[in-house]
Subunit: 277 residues, 2 copies
Amino acid sequence: MGQLQPADFEHTLEAALQEMGAGPQLPVVICGMAGSAQGWVEAPYVDLPASTAALAAQAVRVKTAQRPVYIIPGICQSPEIAADVIRGEETLLLGLSLLETIDGLVCLPGTHSKWARVRGQVIEAFHTAMTGEVYALLSSSSTLSHFMNHPITDLSENAAFRSAVAEALAAPEKILQALFSVRAIPLLATDAAERDMPARLSGLLIGLEIASQNPPRSSQVTLVANGHLADAYQSAFDVAGIDYHTFDAEALACAGLFEMARQIMPDVFSKPESEQI
Amino acid sequence: MGQLQPADFEHTLEAALQEMGAGPQLPVVICGMAGSAQGWVEAPYVDLPASTAALAAQAVRVKTAQRPVYIIPGICQSPEIAADVIRGEETLLLGLSLLETIDGLVCLPGTHSKWARVRGQVIEAFHTAMTGEVYALLSSSSTLSHFMNHPITDLSENAAFRSAVAEALAAPEKILQALFSVRAIPLLATDAAERDMPARLSGLLIGLEIASQNPPRSSQVTLVANGHLADAYQSAFDVAGIDYHTFDAEALACAGLFEMARQIMPDVFSKPESEQI
């Protein structure tokens, strides 16, 4: 989205579809930042509580040369509760609700981690934590950068990561001090300590993110993540004593988008399968 | 310090002294980053508790062509308590202790805010909060930057600043979410709201810094700051119900450096005043 002007989207989409061998009439349903004010066509936010039906009803049809293209709106939470916005994750959350009976907290970690309260097929509330972005900024552009040169390997059993998570859970209000320790520890300790600093910074910020939820021990969180991010959050949930089920984001996006397509274009799906595009 | 190689310091100092009309034999006492490992000559950290006498005793004499030059060491706090380091502020703190009887918390806000516990003329403990640096990074280089274009004017009576301080004091663990609101509020509210975002971001981070101290209401903090920074912290202390006295940093640096000079070079100061350099 950041690299395209509105006029570029259709061509870019068609090129990608051609590469996939998609037929010229295949309808397209899109979620995420293509619907933002700086995207292809703005799809205004839907209010909470939000269901698949509400999002499908307010999907925006894009004027295109050939195929039908729809953009799913994001969701907003009003400033009276706590101003917040989602674009894209709503589709994953509703995809998840089709695959699993959810009644509780769902965590989608990332640059802007999303935590949502989902009941059945309705998103009731959510908020965004800037965890990944703050980590990236501090790693690359702060006075801590000098101590962040060692790659993080495996966080699932990393002692520096786990003790940092515990530290942030116990005293989240001290985060601005704890961050400085990523500089002070290597200045005062052995060279070996410096190797732990990327895992320490990650643990402090993920621990802080979890502390903000204040989830009781033994509560259940649904985690939508894969790879290193899944390892990190699973390890942090272990430290916090939180139970979790993990789902892969891609499968949920497919499920959510397909259900949106069904609801936006019921006529396409009501035809016998042999006549469907 | 960041712009000089070790070999450049003497020339740069001499040029500045010449501009000031200082005599060629005038001794010089320096505090701050000139004594760091990347500075002119490293002055290793002194352990806590730290007094003027201990710092003066471990000042490092620099080999120079003409005048005596000493660098005051910084202070470190061991990793067993909470790894932390200070360079420069120790001299302000000991300057303060000469001008005022201190028994409590001293706050020196800035890029890296320092909070110290000072009793008489001894620094007992301290820590560093990365408040100013985190503010600068988020303002200039994050997804919040787009909403940070309006200049902050007066924070002493700024409602957006004060409510953000109160919010961070009440729920410091929610900071990663509160930061995102600096983006979400302008997306959802009127244009006027965007104007408040720099003050809001400042209030959230300063409120968080104060929350980490957990100072009881009506406690007394000595604030070392001037200008806009003094206005901001005074206003935040008002919101937190904390009493404060404010001192100007420059006066404290002069008092601290002069006392260090007396203790490092007692012979210079024991001469009759007419013979002093």
